[in-house]
């Protein structure tokens, strides 16, 4: 039984409605603390959709182990604005400690909220565009691109840690108070953030799905399965890859902003190599390559497990998480959505064999 990706999308309607329903009732069932955690996971899920576009089902072969950086760039943009709103226009404490008296030039745009939010998407997109353009145009792909994306993480993280007076160094940016005058830690504000995150998750999901459902998506699959063949059909794969890479970086920036709003801190360790690799794990564990739903499930599931294990077994939780990864890889090579697909297929096969039986009995 061979299903095309479009049929898969269709069969995922059920999963999608279910997820939507759960997210809708979650604020009524969960405590403020849990809802805040879920909101954070959903911010991760937004990023995972972008990664799935890039790696999972479309364009393919483009495995980025550097999306923590794009996430981080978005997060820092938001955090810089929040920091300035908290200080009321004065220079942040860590700058004063390093002997600065005036707001540095690169902080100035972040006094304006709209500008800060726009930059949170634009800066990651621009960085990704240049990196993508240069590498894809020179036909660097596969593992070489992946290594390059890791190098980007090291460069940026080192830069962020090194510029203590601009970025707050290893401790990052925190101690935010208000956003547009609303207290950031108030439960009503956090619930609002949750709804905004749900809304943006939905918007990113539907936008991405719309993008890949048409002829454009088929071109991306073509590039995934035969990049060179596409060249001889008159396509320039580097342009497509650069576009999707840039788009996924912008989505990561968006996720980073939502993360900071709900978590209240951003530091270099949250955007470094380990988180960057974890992001790929969410997509891989969610499975359902190209469905764009798998990564949402993966991001929420992995992070829920991580939180659950670390709360219940503070000493051993990393082992449990490791075992979980191994189990999924060994028994569910197609990820969690693979489980659903298997079950779906078995049910279909049963129907088929039933109908064959009926035909036989008729004849």
């Amino acid at each position: 039984m061979q299903n095309t990706i479009y049929q898969k999308l269709l069969s995922n309607k059920v999963i999608f409605s279910l997820i939507f329903l759960i997210l809708l009732v979650a604020p009524m069932l969960l405590s403020d603390f849990r809802l805040n955690l879920l909101g954070k996971f959903l911010a991760f899920a937004i990023l995972a959709i972008g990664l799935d576009l890039l790696w999972g089902g479309y364009t393919g072969g483009v495995l980025s182990l550097g999306h923590g950086i794009y996430f981080g760039l978005g997060a820092y943009c938001m955090a810089m604005y929040l920091k300035l709103e908290a200080t009321g226009g004065a220079i942040p404490d860590f700058m004063a400690w390093s002997g600065m008296s005036e707001l540095p030039l690169i902080w100035i745009p972040f006094q304006y909220p709209i500008l800060a939010i726009l930059l949170g998407v634009i800066i990651p997109a621009v960085v990704a565009f240049f990196l993508g353009y240069l590498t894809f145009r020179n036909r660097i792909s596969g593992v070489y691109f992946t290594i390059l994306s890791q190098a980007l993480v090291i460069v940026v993280v080192t830069l962020f840690i090194g510029s203590q007076n601009l970025t707050g160094g290893t401790s990052g940016l925190t101690n935010f108070e208000t956003l547009f005058g609303f207290h950031i830690n108030a439960s009503s504000t956090q619930t609002a953030f949750y709804w905004i995150t749900v809304f943006i998750l939905g918007a990113v999901f539907f936008f991405s799905r719309m993008l890949v459902k048409g002829r454009f998506g088929k071109v991306l699959i073509g590039i995934r399965d035969g990049e060179n063949r596409m060249r001889f059909l008159g396509y320039n794969p580097s342009a497509y890859k650069t576009f999707i890479y840039t788009l996924s970086a912008a989505i990561a920036g968006l996720a980073g902003m939502l993360f900071v709003l709900q978590v209240g801190i951003i530091s270099p360790t949250m955007i470094g190599i380990i988180p960057s690799i974890e992001m790929v794990l969410w997509v891989a564990l969610g499975g359902g390559r190209g469905t764009l739903i798998g990564p949402i499930i993966g991001a929420v599931f992995v992070n829920t497990a991580k939180t659950g294990f670390s709360e219940s077994y503070p000493e051993y939780w990393t082992y449990f998480l490791g075992i979980l990864f191994v189990l999924v890889v060994v028994f569910l090579p197609n990820g969690l959505t693979g489980l659903f697909e298997k079950w779906n297929e078995r049910r279909k096969n049963k129907n088929v064999s039933n109908s064959i039986r009926v035909e036989k009995s008729v004849s």
Partner: protein
């Protein structure tokens, strides 16, 4: 009438000292089925590679319609100049359906933003349906291309080349691995499509060449050894010596 559509002048392809194509002069005319034969390593496939841009010429010129220089263009730009290539092994997109393969291949604006906005037009739909009937895959149009038989995959790929409405078609051993029946069908298809364009084919099967060739070029060590009809080729002493000789005698 047939006229020169493609002209290679003194083309050199040098792979680290090995001259796969050595100062080759070669012309392709429209409305003709043009076969390229020659022993292994004669540079036949490299000739197709250098025309479609897969391999860059070390030196020389490739001119389209007496005006457009191709050697500096990217592969996809050459396609938009009207040259399409079918590779030796069927390289269709297995996970896309037969219809989707043709949809991606057909002539249209293929840059990023026109593709995002792309919508079906009636003309496109009828052209694809026509093509599906021509290659006898209409009923299989919603099947994943990966599930097709080998010969069907070859036809699908030829159809993908045709959907680009090229002026020049380059085919690399199109009948390799086909049954007798499939060969005949492919031959008919080639004759049909050569009516208003040039078809350049690399082929080893001499019976097939004999049956369908308008003109045959024999290559040897990166150069053109002889050019003419199949009868002329077969009776030429030089050709017999380097290539047919050992087989015929």
């Amino acid at each position: 009438m047939s006229q020169t559509v493609l002209e290679l002048k003194k083309v050199l392809v040098d792979f680290n000292g090995f001259k796969a194509i050595n100062k080759l002069y070669f012309t392709v005319n429209s409305n003709s089925v043009h076969f390229v034969i020659g022993p292994n390593g004669a540079g036949k496939t490299t000739l197709l590679d250098v025309i479609c841009g897969k391999t860059k010429a070390t030196d020389g010129q490739i001119t389209l319609q007496k005006q457009r220089e191709l050697t500096k263009l990217r592969e996809d730009q050459i396609v938009h100049q009207g040259i399409s290539r079918k590779f030796q092994t069927p390289s269709i997109f297995q996970e896309l359906t037969v219809l989707e393969n043709l949809e991606v291949a057909m002539k249209q604006k293929k840059n990023l933003f026109s593709m995002i906005k792309a919508k079906w037009t009636n003309e496109q739909e009828s052209r694809i349906n026509e093509m599906l009937h021509l290659i006898g895959l209409y009923l299989a149009k919603d099947q994943p291309a990966g599930s097709l038989a080998h010969g069907q995959k070859q036809w699908l790929e030829i159809a993908m080349v045709l959907m680009q409405e090229p002026d020049i078609i380059l085919l690399d051993e199109p009948i390799a691995g086909m049954s007798k029946k499939e060969r005949n069908k492919t031959g008919e298809l080639i004759t049909k499509i050569a009516k208003n364009r040039a078809v350049l084919i690399v082929e080893h099967d001499m019976d097939f060449v004999k049956k369908y060739a308008d003109i045959v070029s024999v290559m040897h060590e990166g150069q053109l050894l002889f050019e003419g009809t199949m009868e002329q080729v077969q009776s030429d002493p030089k050709v017999r010596e380097v290539y047919l000789g050992r087989k015929v005698d």
